[in-house]
Symmetry: C2
Subunit: 211 residues, 2 copies
Amino acid sequence: MTETTATLSRSETTTSKIIDAAKTLFVARNYADVTTDMIAGAAGVTKGGLYHHFPSKESLYCSMMLDDFESKRQLFSQSVDMKGTARQRLARLTGDFLALPAEERQLAGLVRRDINVFTGEDRDRLVRAYQLALPKQIEAIISDGIADGELAPADPRLLSWWFVSLVEVAVSRYADETLGNPDKRLDHVLALFFEGAEAKPVPATPNGGIQ
Amino acid sequence: MTETTATLSRSETTTSKIIDAAKTLFVARNYADVTTDMIAGAAGVTKGGLYHHFPSKESLYCSMMLDDFESKRQLFSQSVDMKGTARQRLARLTGDFLALPAEERQLAGLVRRDINVFTGEDRDRLVRAYQLALPKQIEAIISDGIADGELAPADPRLLSWWFVSLVEVAVSRYADETLGNPDKRLDHVLALFFEGAEAKPVPATPNGGIQ
DNA sequence: TATGAAACATACCGGTCAGTCGGTATGTAA
DNA sequence: TTACATACCGACTGACCGGTATGTTTCATA
């Protein structure tokens, strides 16, 4: 009974404590500004203990990000597999993202910030995992939308990037301060993406278009 | 005749050589990963020479960014002062941005990446200069568009953020590789912002809507 | 052409930090 | 209780890097 389903071994417990501490610190400060001593301290171990579980600082960072991307990928894949219009599925996906705690949301943006730290193998893995977690899933929904005629024909890759950036702006610290209600925010993002910012002539109201 | 219009003094020449070298390096790697020795080497001077012109690494970085933002602000202000619809003016602004060399375009995105390095005075100056260079100018155009009824009523600050993110995606390395023609890209960006991604019923074609 | 200040080079210091290593504590199986 | 393995500690090091102190060159001006 050393390893049942919900029971974590001692090693797994401290490993996840270290990763949790690293998440908080790396979200708050740059890669270089977070020392291994800080991570170890926040996790309640010493640097020696940390290096017993991770061979290097970079590998710790990678493990952290890859774990996070994988869990996000699983979460968002539910929206991809869902039935419904592209708009409904994107609403579900965006809603899931907005519902995450702020720290988890910001993690997705760290790739852009810290990606230059890594080279070769590690860099490729990070980029690939990020794409699988977010852009690729959105792209799948958008491709369906284009095929169904719900969306105008366009390069789905570019549309997915644009949508991702929309969402990232909507969940940024600035938006948290400026826009109160996350639900309104979600509506706003979707409306902008689907309908654009242009003023529409109000078609069938009595006052037709006047104010 | 030590200081005429187009003649640079020796000090000014090396200062700008240092800043140019810093631009290239800081675009490619994180703030912490670029050493003062690297910058000096790339600029053809030594670290002592560099520190003759800049009191610290941070002040060098700030000078670099503030100079760049100021030149961008001047460039984009021409689009703000221009006559025409919001769409025409945004097209001009975006076109100017797309026409810049890739390195200059990417500089605008560095603030988001490296802003955590700075605190207090320096940080405020950087943020303010960036906002004056890009978001505030777009916001001015968008506010006009809303006032004229060209754009649907909305928070112009938020719209400008979204437009900036849209442009940043369009000028990213990914877009450079995927989409060939910058002019097509510009049309695409504007169409997305104004009209959205939704499929529009084609109003007056013979085959009305069928494929 | 003498001179002094600005422009640079060279060598060095102080501090930081990733990573190491010998040793200790905590289980665990025989 | 012995023997072994895994988990963890904490002091240490070696390299790196921002910044400085001091010496050397350049060059405009008198």
